[in-house]
Structures are given as structure tokens and as C-alpha cells.
Amino acid sequence: MDHLDALENESIYIFREAQRKFKDLAMLWSIGKDSTTLLWLARKAFFGKVPFPLVHIDTGFKHPMMIEYRDRMAKEWEVDLIVARNEEAIRSGASPEKGRFACCNALKTQGLQQLLDRRGFKGIFLGIRRDEEGSRAKERIFSPRDKNFEWNYKDQPPELWDQFNTSFRPDTHVRIHPLLSWTELDIWEYIRREEIPVCSLYLSKDGKRYRSLGCVPCNFPLASGASTVDEIIEELKVTKTPERAGRAQDHEAAYMMQKLRSLGYP
């Protein structure tokens, strides 16, 4: 079994375990390469029919090409798509100009929390990876959040032999991370092998491409000539630039990502 097969099987096992243990599941689909790979794996795990809804937290700042791609794929793959927006914050004019931390927290984290409260989801699949950003590396595969959405990273229960912690108090929800062991390069090699369609913003245009997709005002394309998946893979093998270099919220202030994440940011 090669490396990608091993990762694929690990993720499928996690999906099936979660589906068996939790009634009210949903999956966050940010439209990016990771959560689209996650969606592909969910289709594999459940023989083509994803048994839970997909949630896109729409901040109103997403690139039109992301929205077009989202709607096209949702239709083609026949998924149950929920688009969630923190309408109140959008109406009151939340924007990065008034502070990126507040904007991310209101439009993404609170947008997600409102949806969880409304729909009562008990488990949320997320496409985060250990290698992508500091605080994500310490995650467990099944990671509980309390009713205030907080993550107690200092005292996490052990997780061994694929025996996940799946019984939680009623006021908690659990984040489930089937891609934790994957690297950015694994994702692209898998996308190539499986021929998973990705949003074209990842491909170089006029010497620039997006390494990571986010909101238009806070996400910048990086200099790159990689216009095909093959070229992206070659680029990743030699680059020294971090994946999230173009994501402004990571660099706004020290530890901002970690603060956002301890409050419940994916």
C-alpha cells in the first residue's frame, strides 16, 4: 500500500467511525483544496452518497469564482449544501478595515456557531492539517469543544489505536479532522491521482496563484508560474514559502491564528 492509499484509508476509517457514532453531523466546505479533498473522501467512504450536509460559511467576501465553483460542484456531486451567513454582522458592516480579528471572528467563527445553535449539529468535519499552521498541529482527530466553543488544548485526552473519544457531554460538539496526517504536498498528489476538480484560483494566471483560498480583502496570490496540478506539485517540492503566506489574518498580529482558533475558528 503506498503513502496516498494509507492516508486515504485512514481518512475513510475516521469518516465511517464518526458517521456511526454521531447522529447530527455536518462538514465544513470552504471550497478550498483541502475541504474539497475531504468531500471526495467522504464520497468514497459512503459509496458516492454523502450522508450529511455540507456547510459553507459565506462571509460575503468570497471570490465570485469560488461561489461559481461551489455551486457547480454541489450540483454535480448532489450534495446537500447549506450556505450560512452571519447576516447581522454583514448588515452592520463587519469588514477587515475595522480589524481583521473581529472580522474573522464575527463572520466565520460566529457564523459557524450560529449555524450549530440553529441546527444542533453535534459533530463537524474539518479539513485542517497538522502541517499547515502551528496550533493545528496539536489537534486530536476527534477534538471536543465546549458550549462556549472553546478548545482546552492543554489537557486533551489520549487518542490511541483508532479508538477515538466519541462520547461527549450534551453541551459539547466535536470537531473531526480526517486530514490531520496529510501534508499540502499529499493533498496535491492525491488531487492529481484522483483527478479531483479544484477551483481555478489555485492555478497561475499572470505569474500569480493562490496557495490557499480565503476572503478577497485578506488573501493575496503569491508569485508562481504553476498553472497545472503537475507544476504545483513540482513547485511545492522546492518552495520555502509557507502555505499561508498570503493569508493576512495569520500575520496581522502575534498569535492571532491561535487566539482565533481557541475561540472556535476552524
Binding site: 500500500m1 503506498d2 503513502h3 492509499d5 494509507a6 484509508n9 475513510i12 476509517y13 465511517r16 467511525e17 458517521q19 456511526r20 464520497r43 468514497k44 467512504a45 459512503f46 459509496f47 458516492g48 452518497k49 497538522r130 502541517d131 502551528g134 496550533s135 498541529a137 496539536k138 486530536r140 488544548y153 492543554k154 489537557d155 486533551q156 485526552p157 489520549p158 487518542e159 490511541l160 489505536w161 479508538q163 473519544n165 462520547s167 461527549f168 457531554r169 496526517s181 501534508t183 498528489e189 520555502k240 509557507p242 498569535y255 491561535q258 487566539k259 481557541s262
Partner: protein, 521 residues
């Protein structure tokens, strides 16, 4: 593409024996530490008037972590010319042992780090013991800080002998014992002239000699049912092949139910039906006949089936904040089975750092201790010993919501043979506890029968009550038949202290009334 699959390693050892420095060194010597980061460490060390220290890479993050959890874990990936490596747990966590165990349980190999000046210490032994309990067999020992003892061969050999002796007592034979200085880079990537007396592999050479251990070849088939998907007019049994291979058309048997079946198809999404699936593969299986088996049943080939196990003796490590207590009830999870079990014996309680047996026939196991224990299961499950098949020979123990311990199965015993039914005599002479008459059946998972003496009924007639603590629903059924037959009242409560039935009798024998839904004769 990399030539070989990623190897997952964990670094264990006593605090201050040089783990941070070693990680920094491994990144640097494999070209995995960005130049920018190297210069940053250099600058900081110069500013503080200290010699260059790789540990600073980790220490700096450590300080940051006092107030947050940022850690540059992209750095936990490094590469040799052979293959990529992942260091599963980076250092510096408060609950270090829990993380070490979480990491080691997923690792292919371990580096056990020992300070050459200090020698083997408490956590060296504890970690080594945990590695052994987790079944990790690919271990390299790195005897570090040899620069502090002048690269003396006799000192290295002293430490080597000490650690080899200890490892042997926990069943580990290290593949290599390498003399190193992580700080100065001796025998990490290249052989050091300062240890000319050493002709073995470098540390990276030793790591490159290990193998990924995901695949378990050569063992009998074990396919635990994970879930059942019904749709398109068929039932698909989803699961992962834990060992052996699963072939379409083969005759197979489920354990513990003993149901037999012929495999019709082995399926994956978007792929033509597979002739067979191998260890590690998640597949869906259909059978030629309609079957009804539950999650937790294990498919194997006829003649090679695991036992339907009623009792498990195990070596267990305990991480719970509350002690593990004799006669208490726990949930065990083994492969996809989940079973309630009573801790029926704590044969030996062991100090996990000295391996000393601190108590025999104990009542409790404390946090960080290891013990040899026996669990009586409330219903049978399919299990193997760890020696026969590690995938079905290990389990975790849940307390409340969380995993609080793990164990490896040393011995299994199947259902008691017929005739071993426990007979409980209910007589007028009962042990009287402060809160009344009390019979404890909470450790009797097997079949139970009751014999009732006339004196027993008479005593209840005098207004006494008897409480019975139960283990199985089967016992509840028998007691309710008994109550029905003898005209007794009963209450049943399932609470924090277990399942409890109280038997009583109200009024004289002739009174025709009902109590709690049961007729009183």
C-alpha cells in the same frame, strides 16, 4: 515522489536528556531547517551571550507556549535521502506522557534518548516500558551528550549495558545503540572521528534501517464490522481489514456469533469489484445470503476464527485522574467492539519507572501505574492475544467520556462451559450491611440461578428488604421471575453505583394487591 513511504517516529526519554536539541539537529543536518530560522537562533544566542544552541529553536517556542500554543510544527517533518520522516510528538507539553503515548501508538519506530553523563533515569525507564506496552519494537537508543564525557568509550559502554539490560526486561531489543552528541552533531548524519571506536550506524542511518509497520502480513484474516449501510436493495458491511486478506468467494465466519457466510463481493467506490482486500484497506463487503450481524462482529476464515471471549487478562497502563478500581465497571473498546466489563482482579500493581511490583491482589491502580489485571466481560466479544494478533489484542478503557487507559491482551478465556452456572442461595441468614441486606452479583457475568429457602421469604415478610447489585440483564430477568413466583415486590434502579434491584414484601401473605406492577400472593 519520494522513494519510500514516510516513517513515523516518536522521541522518548527523560526530561533534559536533549530532545529539543536532537530535533533541532535532525532538522539542520537533513537540510530541513530554513536558513532564516538558523540565523535567527544564531542571533538570539549571540545577543544573550550564549554559545549556539539548537535547543533554542524549541525553547523559544516553549516560552511562547507559556501564553499560547504556537509551535512551528511544519518543522516536525524532515527528510533523508531515503524517505520523509514525521516526528509525531514535539516536546514541551504539560501532559507529556499522554502525548507521548498518543504519539507512540501511531509511530513506526522510536528513538529512546539517554544522557550519557546522567545515564538511565526514571522517565527513560517509564517511556521505554510504555513503548513496550504499545507494541513498538523498532527502537534505536541514542546515548547523548557524549561531548560532556570526552567521548569516552567506557562511559558509553556502561550506559549501553544499563539501557540494554532494562530494555530486555521489558521485551525490547534495540536495533542499535548509537553514541551521539546532538549539540555538536556527532554520529547524527555522519560518523564522528571522535568516536573512532564505534563502527555502527549513525542515528539517521539507524532510522533509515527501519520499516513502516502499517501492513501486517502473514496473519489470519480479521475484518471487524465497523458499520452496515443499507441501500440499493443490499446490505454493505463496511470495515477495515486489520490483518490477512479478504477474498471474494471465500467461506467466512463471524465471531463471536459464529454465523457463517460466503463473501459475494469486496467493494470500493468507483472501482470494479475487487478480487481481494489486504490489511489496512477500508472496504465494503456483501454476502451471498441475507445476514444480520452487528458492528463489533469480526469476520475471519473458518478454522482461524478468534475466540468468543468472556474474560481478558491484560497488561494495562492507567492515565486516568481517578484510580482504576477493583469490582468497578468500565467500557472496553477493542477494534470495533465496545463492551461493559467488570475489573475482576488486579493481580499485580507495577511502578512504571522501576518495574517493581508494588502490590499483589490490589484494590486500585493509580495514575501512571501499570498493572496486570483481569476484566470479566458482560457479553462475549471477538479478541486475540496481542502476541497472536496485535490489531485484535489491544484495547482502551473509557471512564466517563474519555479514554483513561490502554492495555494489551495477555490471555483470553472464552465462555464458561455449561454446568458452571453460579447458584446463589437466598436464605434467612444473610450478610447484613449498614444499609440493609446486600448481595453483590456485579462481578458475576456468567449465568446465575437462584435457590430460595422458605426462611428467606419469611424474613422479607417481616418487613426486611434485600438489595442485589447486578451485572447482567439476564440476572434481572431471573430475579423478576423469582419475584413473580414468590409474590415479592421489586424496584430496579440503574445509577452511578451500578444496577440495583431491591426485593421486599408488603403485608401478610394473603393480601391480594399489586406492588410495582408485580402481583403479591
Amino acid at each position: 515522489m519520494s522513494g519510500q513511504d514516510t516513517l513515523r517516529i516518536v522521541i522518548a526519554g527523560h526530561v533534559d536528556h536533549g530532545k529539543s536539541t536532537l530535533i533541532g539537529r535532525l532538522f539542520y543536518d537533513t537540510g530541513s531547517l530554513p536558513e532564516e530560522r538558523y540565523r535567527e537562533i544564531e542571533r538570539t544566542c549571540r545577543e544573550q551571550g550564549r554559545p549556539f544552541e539548537f535547543a533554542y529553536l524549541m525553547d523559544a517556542l516553549e516560552e511562547e507556549r507559556e501564553h499560547n500554543i504556537t509551535i512551528d510544527t511544519a518543522q516536525t517533518f524532515f527528510k533523508t535521502s531515503l524517505r520523509p520522516y514525521i516526528i509525531i510528538d514535539a516536546p514541551g507539553h504539560k501532559e507529556f506522557l499522554k502525548n507521548m503515548i498518543t504519539g507512540a501508538a501511531a509511530a513506526d519506530a522510536a528513538i529512546l534518548l539517554v544522557d550519557g553523563a546522567e545515564g538511565v533515569r526514571e522517565q527513560t525507564r517509564r517511556h521505554a516500558y510504555m513503548l513496550s506496552l504499545l507494541g513498538l519494537r523498532q527502537v534505536v537508543v541514542a546515548v547523548n551528550k557524549l561531548d560532556l564525557v570526552g567521548f569516552r568509550r567506557d562511559r558509553f559502554e556502561e550506559v549501553e549495558e544499563e539501557i540494554r539490560g532494562f530494555l530486555l526486561s521489558v521485551g525490547i531489543v534495540p536495533a542499535h545503540v548509537v553514541p551521539i552528541s546532538a549539540r555538536e552533531g556527532d554520529n547524527i548524519a555522519t560518523s564522528s572521528e571522535r568516536t573512532a571506536w564505534y563502527s555502527g550506524l549513525t542515528l539517521l542511518g539507524a532510522l533509515d534501517s527501519f520499516f513502516p509497520t502499517r501492513d501486517i502480513a502473514g496473519l489470519p484474516l480479521r475484518f471487524p464490522v465497523q458499520d452496515i449501510y443499507v441501500g440499493d436493495g443490499k446490505r454493505v458491511y463496511a470495515g477495515r481489514v486489520e490483518s490477512g486478506s479478504l477474498r471474494a468467494g471465500s467461506r467466512a465466519v463471524f465471531s463471536p456469533s459464529g454465523k457463517k457466510a460466503v463473501v459475494r463481493s469486496v467493494e470500493k467506490w468507483k472501482q470494479p469489484a475487487l478480487p481481494e482486500a489486504h490489511a489496512g484497506e477500508c472496504v465494503g463487503v456483501t454476502f451471498t445470503e441475507e445476514l444480520f450481524v452487528e458492528r463489533g462482529e469480526v469476520l475471519s476464515e473458518e478454522g482461524e476464527a478468534p475466540l468468543a471471549v468472556r474474560e481478558i487478562s491484560a497488561s494495562l497502563f492507567w492515565l486516568g485522574n481517578e484510580p482504576l478500581r477493583l469490582s468497578s465497571r468500565y467500557v472496553l473498546k477493542l477494534a470495533t467492539s465496545e463492551v461493559e466489563a467488570v475489573l475482576s482482579a488486579i493481580t499485580e500493581r507495577i511502578d512504571s519507572s522501576t518495574l517493581e511490583v508494588t502490590e499483589r491482589h490490589a484494590n486500585r491502580v493509580e495514575n501512571l501505574e501499570v498493572a496486570n489485571v483481569t476484566f470479566t466481560l458482560l457479553h462475549p466479544i471477538a479478541a486475540d492475544t496481542f502476541k497472536e494478533n496485535p490489531r485484535l489484542g489491544r484495547f482502551v478503557v473509557e471512564v466517563g467520556e474519555f479514554v483513561a487507559g490502554g492495555g494489551i491482551v495477555r490471555e483470553v478465556r472464552s465462555d464458561r462451559p455449561g454446568g458452571a452456572t453460579r447458584v446463589v442461595r437466598l436464605t434467612a441468614m444473610m450478610n447484613t450491611e449498614p444499609d440493609g441486606n446486600f448481595i453483590d452479583l456485579s462481578r458475576e457475568a456468567g449465568p446465575v440461578e437462584f435457590e430460595v429457602s422458605p426462611g428467606f421469604v419469611a424474613r422479607l415478610g417481616e418487613g426486611e428488604k434485600v438489595a442485589i447489585r447486578l451485572c447482567t440483564a439476564d440476572q434481572l430477568e431471573r430475579i423478576s421471575r423469582l419475584a413473580f413466583g414468590y409474590g415479592l415486590g421489586m424496584t430496579f434502579r440503574r445509577g452511578s453505583e451500578g444496577n440495583r434491584v431491591v426485593l421486599f414484601r408488603e403485608g401478610p401473605v394473603s393480601q391480594a394487591a399489586t406492588e410495582e406492577g408485580f402481583p403479591v400472593i
